[in-house]
Symmetry: C2
Subunit: 215 residues, 2 copies
DNA sequence: GTCTATATGTAGATAGAC
DNA sequence: GTCTATCTACATATAGAC
């Protein structure tokens, strides 16, 4: 490939391929470090080292630590939402929606992506942080609430005896259980005294949440 | 009251009343600041300011930031465990133990203490941090696992068809739902679009978990 | 035991060369 | 756009006066 500076007439408006690649590496590195240490525990230097980039490169691409965190969360949010909504459509195509089907559409895509790609596993931990800490409420509202509203509306339709308030509580309980399964494998293994196949765990999670929501 | 230095024959082995009062204030302040900002976000200076003490006073009482965090978690752990075990005994006295009774004994004491005392509310947030982050596994193992084992054994007895592994998963799901209710009031209110009386929420939580565990 | 002052390291951010 | 070198601020921790 020729160098990027000899392209002649092309204006330098759009980021070059190389700049885009750097941005991706910086975001991947931020994802890994934020997942491992949390927002306050992570340092720009750690992220730069993980990305194999000099420290100064992080700021042009991230725009400060908070903005970098925001971008890290936002980057995969649309893909995650789309995977969930696609799964919901597929459940609907299979017949009338059930509680298990609804939960499956919400939860399974996350686990499938995490199984395929370690970066999605990092992302899952970051989602857990964002969901648990009111400090990131604005980010959660932007990235996750729209999809949550859709699933909550379906949940309300499936449990007509529940108030919206009760449905919201049950939804939050279920999401917290899902995030616990994604992030607390260590504790589960310690208490359970044996490793478990992931597929069984997910089936168990969905049964657990469906029964709880039905109650 | 007379000053502490004129007591004559008493050796200065045991901490003076004043020192004990300072220690209590330092731990209360640490509890509040750790709960608000997390371990990495909290600073010794914030804790000192909250306690109304000079910065240097924190180290003699806490022995470093990590040790101070450990002491903060450990201080109320015994009282919490005892409250849970007492509640379990009371449930047993009322007749054969049920799933709801077991969950009630584990969860209600925490909510009752939180309702009475804002410091217990801070403590609840810290417990959530410790439970969610593998970094504090050793502290969790020391402070919470012994009681968790007892309740897990009762749970296994009540659900004979479940393996230990499944019981442990269900237990972790239930604890995460409980902690979500303690820490995510903001998100629940936002999704639910109306405030909820706490008593109803706890009843709902216990019904939800009991149904999930029965599944 | 309590508090003041300070040592030491490292954080986030930026200015300016390439 | 990329990278080097550096600035400023504040973190934890401690040494030593009271």
């Amino acid at each position: 490939m020729s160098s990027t500076q000899t392209l002649g007439t092309t204006r330098q408006r759009a980021p070059s391929k190389r700049a885009l690649a750097t941005r991706t590496r910086v975001l991947d590195a931020a994802e890994a470090v934020f997942a491992d240490r949390g927002f306050d525990g992570a340092t720009i230097r750690d992220i730069a080292a993980q990305a194999g980039e000099p420290v100064g490169t992080i700021h042009p691409h991230g725009g400060g630590k908070e903005a970098l965190f925001h971008r890290t969360v936002a980057r995969r949010a649309a893909a995650l939402s789309q995977a969930r909504l696609d799964a919901l459509d597929r459940q609907r195509a299979d017949g009338p929606l059930t509680l298990e089907g609804l939960l499956s559409a919400f939860m399974r895509p996350f686990f499938e992506l995490s199984a395929d790609d370690p970066r999605w596993r990092h992302y899952a931990r970051i989602v857990a942080f964002v969901s648990a800490d009111d400090r990131w409420r604005a980010i959660a509202a932007e990235c996750f609430d729209p999809t949550a509203e859709i699933f909550l509306a379906e949940l309300l339709a499936l449990t007509p005896s529940a108030s919206r308030r009760q449905a919201a509580e049950g939804f939050v309980f279920s999401v917290s259980a899902m995030l616990a399964l994604l992030t607390s494998q260590g504790r589960i293994a310690a208490l359970g005294q044996s490793p478990a196949p992931q597929a069984d765990q997910i089936d168990h999670l969905i049964r657990y949440c469906a029964a709880g929501l039905a109650a």
